[in-house]
């Protein structure tokens, strides 16, 4: 077994990944195994699982029970919401967004994928690619999850057959050409037996790629963020008004793109006023630069008027303020989205109202077919829409920046989040 005791290195980094699989493909077993083999499961949790396994009459410890969620879901025997799990190896901490696979839970998968650096799609080797697995890949690509791993599971049930692996691999690669998947890895595993999960399988000498754990530990994610285009949405204005810091005025926020440095000439949007960065504070010390996803406080040399919802960018590289938004939207509530509907929109730190001007098409996430006659979007459906907002938004295409390119839609009457949007461009 790999050496995977949770360690505490100061330079340990972070990988967030989302898992998707159809019911019974072995997702819970796989996650259970990752937690188990990385020693992220404690004795009392394991005992509880052993007890339940025995009570259910299983002849083995059912690792899938480890990731089993709320009682109501337990009773139904399915996972119906995004659950977050944690494990660590000496070099990396992992946050898993465990999402249910069925089409009626598309919104949950979109939610889980929204923050993921990597998407893990599971298929059963006996069934090969299904409509569901294609849809999972489509959603991960739509959400611009930069790395994708296809795990072909239950290899033990197909005698660890290389031809089966090659066939599914080829079929998926062919399908993936229609999508936007910058990095793909296809790994044959047995979640139940542990083959190629943490330890290299003895049963598949023909496979020379990485084990799943090795890949998760080494996939390079830091460069996935946009480090070129400076985007700093202002969250909060820090004004101590104390004797000691009488004149302090800082703009707090989390860097969404680019690298900010003191001395940089910047523009504040939407006003268009220009100024220079006087200093960047991270708590009680000044830093030489700030980059995503740092939370810092920026001071400017001039006394310009800046408030929450504004954005600091570079003079020659700034988003164009716009009230007309063209976006892909995943609809997340039972009442359908229709043209003329009015909603609240939250984009970075800016909240406005939006009018649905048009539903251009509905995307069939299984066939990628575009239905131009759709007219509305129902729960869990995805489509391309046009919005007109009450105030300009400072946005980028989602393909360039997942922070400044995304928004949520809120029903003003119920207060519920009803849509997730990705800006085209």
């Amino acid at each position: 077994m790999a050496e995977t005791t949770p360690g505490t290195k100061p330079q340990m980094d972070l990988l967030r990944f989302a898992t998707a699989g159809s019911v019974d493909d072995g997702k819970s077993t796989l996650i259970g195994r990752l937690l188990y083999d990385s020693k992220s499961i404690f004795a009392d949790q394991l005992e509880a699982v052993e007890r339940t396994s025995e009570a259910k009459g299983h002849g083995y410890v059912d690792l899938s029970l480890l990731t089993d969620g709320l009682r109501s879901e337990r009773e139904q025997g399915i996972t119906i919401d995004v659950a977050y799990r944690y494990f660590a190896t000496p070099n990396r901490k992992f946050i898993i967004a465990d999402t249910p696979g069925h089409v009626q839970y598309t919104r949950n998968m979109v939610t889980g994928a929204s923050t993921a650096d990597l998407g893990l799609v599971l298929v059963d080797a006996r069934n090969g690619l299904t409509e569901q697995s294609r849809r999972h890949a489509v959603l991960l690509s739509l959400l611009r999850v930069p790395h994708l791993v296809l795990c072909i599971n239950k290899m033990d049930l197909v005698d660890y057959d290389q031809a089966t692996y090659e066939r599914i691999h080829a079929e998926f690669t062919q399908f993936a050409t229609k999508l936007n998947i910058p990095d793909l890895e296809v790994i044959p595993i047995s979640a139940l037996q542990g083959d190629n999960v943490v330890d290299r399988s003895e049963h598949m000498p023909w496979y020379s790629g990485p084990t799943l754990m090795h890949h998760l530990e080494h996939v390079h994610v830091a460069s996935d963020r946009d480090l070129v285009d400076v985007r700093f949405p202002v969250q909060y204005v820090v004004r101590p008004k104390s004797d000691e810091h009488h004149d302090y005025r800082g703009y707090a926020g989390q860097v969404a793109g680019g690298v900010l440095k003191p001395g940089d000439e910047v523009v504040v949007l939407p006003s268009g006023m220009t100024s220079t960065i006087a200093g960047i504070d991270l708590f009680d010390r000044e830093v030489a630069e700030a980059f995503p996803p740092m939370s810092v406080t920026v001071r400017l040399t001039d006394d310009v008027d800046v408030s929450r919802g504004d954005m600091i960018a570079r003079v020659k590289n700034a988003p164009t303020p716009t009230q007309d938004i063209d976006a892909m939207v995943c609809w997340m509530t039972t009442t359908p989205l229709k043209p003329r509907q009015k909603l609240a929109i939250k984009h970075t730190t800016r909240t406005a109202r939006a009018l649905v001007k048009d539903i251009q098409y509905r995307l069939d996430v299984n066939s990628l077919h575009r239905d131009n006659e759709a007219g509305e979007l129902g729960l869990n459906e995805i489509g391309r829409i046009q919005l007109r907002t009450t105030v300009p938004l400072l946005c980028d295409p989602y393909s360039k920046n997942r922070t400044t390119g995304s928004f949520i839609l809120i029903d003003e009457a119920t207060g519920v989040t009803v849509g997730a949007g990705m800006i085209n461009g």
């Binding site: 949770p6 977050y84 944690y86 660590a88 949950n108 909060y236 707090a252 690298v259 939370s295």
Partner: protein, 302 residues
């Protein structure tokens, strides 16, 4: 410098995420409050809040429920933090809540459960619209699906079936009158992250987390403190042992473990090697059933 060098350690990433959450809440909610339990998680929250608004003071008060059964060491640490930060402290006492008829002490209900009513009452009385809590998703199954912004209805209840989707770092803080939001800014931290951070920041935590001599007795497989608040029963023998606490709760329900870990580094080694989760080991109130936490959460527990 190449772009590959722009990397943040996982602890810095967690810190940045939590600070972002604190600032969102301060900007969007009328009356936030930080719920302080005295434990290490709420101290890390205070530290993150301090950083989020520095050099300004934390722009909201701190609320603690006084169970009447708190460890004195925890109260000392709380006061040190509150004084240093110059933040307002509101103490809601269970005894007062019982006296006022806000909660009912039937003699069977644990103080830990009476906290729920006391807390909800304090939130309502003060008109708080957002309450920061130190819950972590790695703590317990029921928490794995909790949102960062966890919506509570006008009865303070959580409806796990009806949670708002939470995407990217876009939090939805919409409320109706009488409702409030529980905010969990350290959702993505694990127990080990908390200790790493306390070590890195060099911040004060209650001394009971470190190894010390204490007179204890065994009950239900846990080591309990000798205290007049928790009389021993027949057959329970008090001995002096070298122990530390892994959580700070009600003194009558919170057990300690035998340990010689007297520095953060030693605690981290111990936690990393731990075979039993912190709640399972030392919290009497979670042991009644596997679904205990879920039940209490629905009622409005932290």
């Amino acid at each position: 410098m190449t772009h590959a060098d722009y990397r943040l350690s996982q602890l810095d990433q967690l810190e940045a995420e939590s600070i972002h959450i604190f600032r969102e809440v301060a900007a969007e909610f009328e009356k936030p409050v930080l719920m302080f339990s005295g434990g290490k998680d709420s101290i890390v929250m205070l530290r993150l809040a301090e950083k989020a608004f520095y050099p300004a003071k934390i722009p909201f008060p701190v609320l603690q429920v006084d169970t009447g059964l708190d460890f004195p060491e925890v109260t000392t640490t709380r006061d040190n933090w509150v004084n240093r930060l110059g933040v307002k402290l509101i103490v809601a006492s269970i005894d007062d809540a019982i006296a006022d008829g806000v909660v009912i002490d039937d003699g069977k209900t644990s103080r830990n459960r009476l906290q729920i009513g006391t807390l909800l009452n304090a939130i309502e009385e003060n008109g708080f619209t957002a309450a920061f809590g130190g819950g972590r998703r790695d703590e317990e199954k029921a928490r794995a699906k909790e949102r960062v912004y966890s919506h509570r209805d006008e009865f303070g209840q959580w409806d796990p079936k009806n949670q708002r989707p939470e995407l990217w770092s876009l939090y939805n803080g919409r409320l109706h009158a009488g409702e409030h939001m529980r905010i969990f800014p350290i959702s993505n931290w694990t127990e080990l992250d908390i200790w790493d951070y306390i070590g890195r920041e060099g911040i004060e935590i209650p001394s009971i987390y470190f190894s010390h001599q204490r007179r204890v007795f065994e009950r239900d497989g846990m080591l309990m403190s000798e205290t007049p608040l928790n009389p021993t029963r027949d057959g329970e023998v008090v001995t002096e042992r070298t122990v530390r606490f892994r959580t700070c709760g009600d003194i009558t329900l919170t057990g300690c473990v035998e340990s010689t870990a007297s520095t953060i580094e030693e605690i981290i080694d111990e936690v990393a090697a731990a075979r039993v989760t912190e709640r399972g080991a030392t919290r009497g109130d979670d042991r009644f059933s596997e679904a205990a936490m879920e039940d209490r959460k629905k009622e409005g527990y932290f």
